[in-house]
Symmetry: D2
Subunit: 406 residues, 4 copies
């Protein structure tokens, strides 16, 4: 009996421009041509570039991040036709493994410049910053953020099935309305379709034109297909249930993260990497009605890193902003405050604010909604696993400032 490994459904080329690779695409559109077929119940490996398609280098300069071209993102692998999948079905995807490429044991996290990408704290931290992470088996560490090391909770930032034409139209309608309603000069609230650098895979002619013109940006996750949900716990061993909207499902995946914190606050915030994901696909006929499903649901695997409930230090954040203004049950404001509390706390050890901002984005921190009904304040919590530091960060331990410059 012959032994062999799992079929690789798509290979990527790290040395070739992403825009020239026909197995990739960077817009959601029902007409992006399928790049391959996967049988029902089949297990395959799919290779992925990092989300920027290789724009960021393993070096000590943040210039590439400052100048990143965000019209290109995210390069996704696919779409794939799943045999027998029809609209109304649910595609059950089991994430059997995610790994960096063996000869690319590194990733990056960064803070975008406020003028080019920004992030959750860009009003306070408008500059660019970058950290390179080296992978050491299941662990990672960074020469740019000393005294920290942790096991990855590796996962894809993006996976989902293609929207139908109707769903795509709805996305463009509702996001267009938000954009139209916005009157704040320097605030980008959403990205409309943008033909610049739109990559429709191996589409050509009119199809490519339509994709470029109408294709939804991949930045937001959306309820109908999940997409860029950035859920750190959607890691190895997870089973996710995805609604199917077009014949064949047209499944895509990408934006692999070696690790990420809840919120992925710096936007370029997971530990971004290229690599390979192993997936099993199972079609559940008529699953959307059976599960009464409007958005993806999942259950995680049993192998998340476990620190023990007593090994987290937790910071509270309320919906009163840093200018003393009271907001009404604004959970976003509340979580921003929790982030600032962590920065203030960890700064005492010698870290720069930007180092902590990046760390909050990519380390396995837990962001919880604690109380969301006690008007006018939402209370959120941000829990930092103390064991990722090689020194004692408990409040009862002495603070010794360290050399953290890099």
């Amino acid at each position: 009996m012959g032994i062999k490994g799992i079929r690789t459904a798509l290979k990527v080329d790290l040395d070739k421009p992403a825009r020239e690779q026909l197995g990739l695409h960077n817009r959601w559109h029902p007409e992006v041509p399928a790049v391959g077929k996967i049988a029902n119940n089949e297990v395959v490996k799919i290779e992925c570039l990092d989300w920027t398609g290789g724009q960021i280098g393993n070096n000590d300069s943040a210039d590439d991040l400052r100048n990143v071209d965000l019209t290109q993102i995210h390069y996704l692998s696919g779409p794939f036709d799943i045999d027998t999948a029809e609209p109304g079905d649910v595609l059950l995807v089991e994430i059997q493994d995610v790994q960096p490429f063996e000869d690319q044991p590194w990733g990056y996290s960064g803070v975008f410049h406020k003028e080019n990408g920004g992030g959750f704290l860009d009003q306070i931290y408008p500059e660019t910053a970058k950290a390179i992470w080296d992978f050491e088996g299941i662990f990672c560490s960074s020469r740019h953020i000393p005294h920290v090391r942790f096991a990855g909770l590796i996962h894809p930032g993006i996976l989902g099935c293609a929207p139908s034409a109707e769903i795509l139209a709805e996305w463009n309608r509702r996001e267009g309305e938000l954009i139209a309603a916005n009157t704040v000069a320097d605030q980008i609230v959403a990205q409309p379709p943008n033909p610049t650098n739109a990559h429709g895979g191996n589409a050509a002619g009119d199809v490519q034109s339509r994709i470029a013109k109408e294709g939804a940006r991949t930045i937001p996750g959306r309820p109908e297909n999940g997409g860029n949900c950035d859920i750190k716990n959607l890691s190895r061993g997870s089973k996710i249930y995805l609604p199917v909207h077009v014949p064949g499902a047209k499944f895509s995946v990408g934006d692999l993260h070696f690790s990420q914190g809840d919120g992925e606050v710096s936007f370029c915030g997971g530990i971004e990497m290229s690599g390979v994901i192993t997936l099993k696909f199972t079609v559940i006929k008529n699953g959307v009605a059976k599960l009464d499903m409007k958005s993806p649901i999942f259950h995680a695997g049993p192998v998340e890193p476990q620190f023990g409930s007593g090994r987290y230090l937790t910071f509270e954040g309320f919906s009163v902003d840093e200018h003393g203004k009271q907001h009404f049950l604004d959970t976003t404001v509340a979580y921003r405050q929790a982030c600032l509390r962590v920065i203030e706390y960890l700064r005492r050890y010698g870290y720069s604010d930007y180092q902590i901002y990046i760390l909050l984005s990519c380390a396995p921190v837990q962001g919880h909604i604690a109380g969301i009904v006690d008007i006018p304040n939402t209370c959120t919590t941000l829990s930092v696993p103390m064991d990722i530091f090689d020194f004692d960060i408990r409040p009862e331990a002495d603070v010794v400032k360290k050399e953290m410059a890099t």
Copy 2:
């Protein structure tokens, strides 16, 4: 050598009106007189009424909930002077235990009427509903929500030190501005000081008048003292660090919950109970500056119920509301959507929407902020522990509708 138990610093009387008990109070004010003194490093037990002061009965009618008098809430035990505590210090409080009274092994959860209290989903579920929970040692179950049973993650909803006069003034300023700015007719965005039923403990005369007139309501948690933070993980074994704002700290505690879900979405949503909490108090001199602390921080104990990461079913919620309107990174909207997804899913088994709404409020569900930077959508997740049900709720199991009427 004589053996004895821990000192009880305050006793409450379940048969006497809460408003007549001088060890309780229901407003935050620096002048509420201390009801007792606790030594630095002392361990004491403190008895607490339920947050309404006994307005809700162990019966099958929700009328008491419909007619609850919310000007009275929350009845807190205290305040206590902690020896040596001064403004600028941090009061470290270790929660050594929380227990219901031995002869009161029950609690309640409910949904308030939209016209009297409301809750997170009151636009959709405006009616009143109530569930009584029976405590069976560490477990609880309800005759009003069949086929569910779980271990409590018992905790105080409220604990904190009194505000200084300056902080109180700041609270009243910023919340007053929010109230003043509100133009929505039927939306209460915050509660200003309200003399009706204001209880200043054993204050009298001018002091009681000032407390009634200026005292901040206990409903919101606030960054300066934590207060009604409603953090389910602040359970047995936790150590919380609280800023001290007045001489003696004037610590208060109350609103005990046998269990609560992240968000406590139905407002009357924890499993509300009376009981006794065992606390140890330690003063950290000059702790606010040492820890650079603006809001409470804590670390939890090692005894939270653990279901295993693979035993949660997780629902995604995005900031597109139920009317199809796109909101900009509105985490509150996103979490509401996640709640609705759970209701739609569990409804298939025969539960009423109100039963699920209550369950989401009080069972140990996890509400995470997954991605908060992918404009315009925040992605939140709501994870339901599958083992609290006595039937199989995994998507792959058959759905059999059950008799859930009560």
Copy 3:
């Protein structure tokens, strides 16, 4: 609707000699009269003395331990008739809670003298030692073992149903054969029935005589009824399935432990206490055949203290004894070696060997059988939770000797 607590099925008196309390007994015998009746599906509280019946005091002398009268042990509460239980049924017992008495927040652990009780390491540590533990809510600490504090994994050391006459005869036969076969002068291999201090509850006359003469000692756990199994994980929230051998089951319970390590190596090794246990009883008709059960089985609750897999320091022990003698797959020898390795390691911090020996008995250490087939060596592991110490015991941390004398 009247609210009330759970019925207490048996009260004990801490101020009265155990031998005079008719609700207690200290031998296994089918004829010990039932002290009460419990309904099928009923929940009750049962009070228990500590296993010695109050022989050990909360003081700093180990004399009481040196002179303990072991003919009296273990004082068990019961037996109780469970309504409808018949031989061949299984009695499902849910442990809903275990608590020390509120005014007795302490327990003890000790090492018996080799001449009176002994223990797992008595060849090396023949002397007596004692530690008193103070309970602080869910935590405990000891003035006799400084720098250690941990949450209890509270449980009953003993629970089980009465043996039938046939089973009792079998016990006496097989243990008698072991005793008869033993030729080692100073090695007690088992305890035969012993009329001295035999307590048959409220038995009298011939029945009491038979109990005294034939009653099996409570020291060993036995496959047929579990008995003194000393399983630390049989804690709050556990459900245990016990075979029923006599009409009414005649269930007994006792030997409460606030905590215990795997092996309970010092024999008087759990944190022994008096207290109250809350149990629910359910009869499974014909359960022994249905489950094909020869020994008890259980599943634990979800609330065990969780330190995280990375927070244990693990020591290996092989079946080569301390004299360099090779034993054949002797797991007992191997585990003893693992214990010695911990003592050698922790001694470096200033602890006496006896302090560590006690700590190993009562702290929540994990003793695993790693490999049991690699002839001639069994490999066992003993894992010590590092977070029970208030200093850093990782091998990579510096060793600073502390003042541990008490």
Copy 4:
């Protein structure tokens, strides 16, 4: 800046006889020549054959297992000289990852024939049996044991440093004494040095002769170097501290397991596989004295599969054997009884006894020493994670016999 992967310190050839590969060896001896040098603090990958060197095939016949040549085992990779390591040092080895070969996603577990290898239950189950496991990312399943699937707790069964000449002599002395003392006709209690198929790596001439003649078998783990400890928790992320006995340490590793249960009861019981292990080596000068170390110690990583304490079904086993004979604190007998209890229980679902025996060997079951002092009985527990089955094995669920034949 060039990016590259981690250096592979040894490659193996799956198509070439193990005995011809000079980077392998199968005896412990100080003179086995080093096959390579590793720098202090270096991270390397090391490839390993399965323990038999490829004798077992991915097929449905157990004949290869029946006829396995056990004089060859275990083929280890190495030894490696670690730069700067000297006797008295400790070699800290961090297990950064373990993976099967990408094109060999399978392993095997089996029961050896009593006449050729045997196992823990060979008195009762003397026949041969085999199960092939297919790896699906982090999971595995077997066509030979239906309805079971679980995440691997992947680890090396063997790792250790070479013995010095003195230690080797001691091993041969003490194990020789055990062999000499044995008078049971058909019981092999230990394996003396055996020149047949002894593989000394690239040793030649007199050195090879000495290795063949004196080299200790790799079957038992031993206190001085750990060796074949078969500790399932020594998985990814673990740090193990190994005593160094010869210059350069001469570190070897092998016997990779995709998974294993505590005890590895069937002997060929882990899920045996070939693959690659990623290790980091750090020398701690004079570490043996510093740590007062006689046997290896380790701490595990944070990524063990976690089922939750309530998701195990636990069986008790006492030291009364299946013939009713009472043994004195014989933990080995007790654990055998616990194994038999599981077999009796799971047999009800249609599994054959051999299927369960294999499953107990390789699934992540927990074997604990519960009480080891309650003469004459040791109580052990064997905990089976219920979530590895795709049906409900709780005692309260109905038993439906399934088609388990294969």
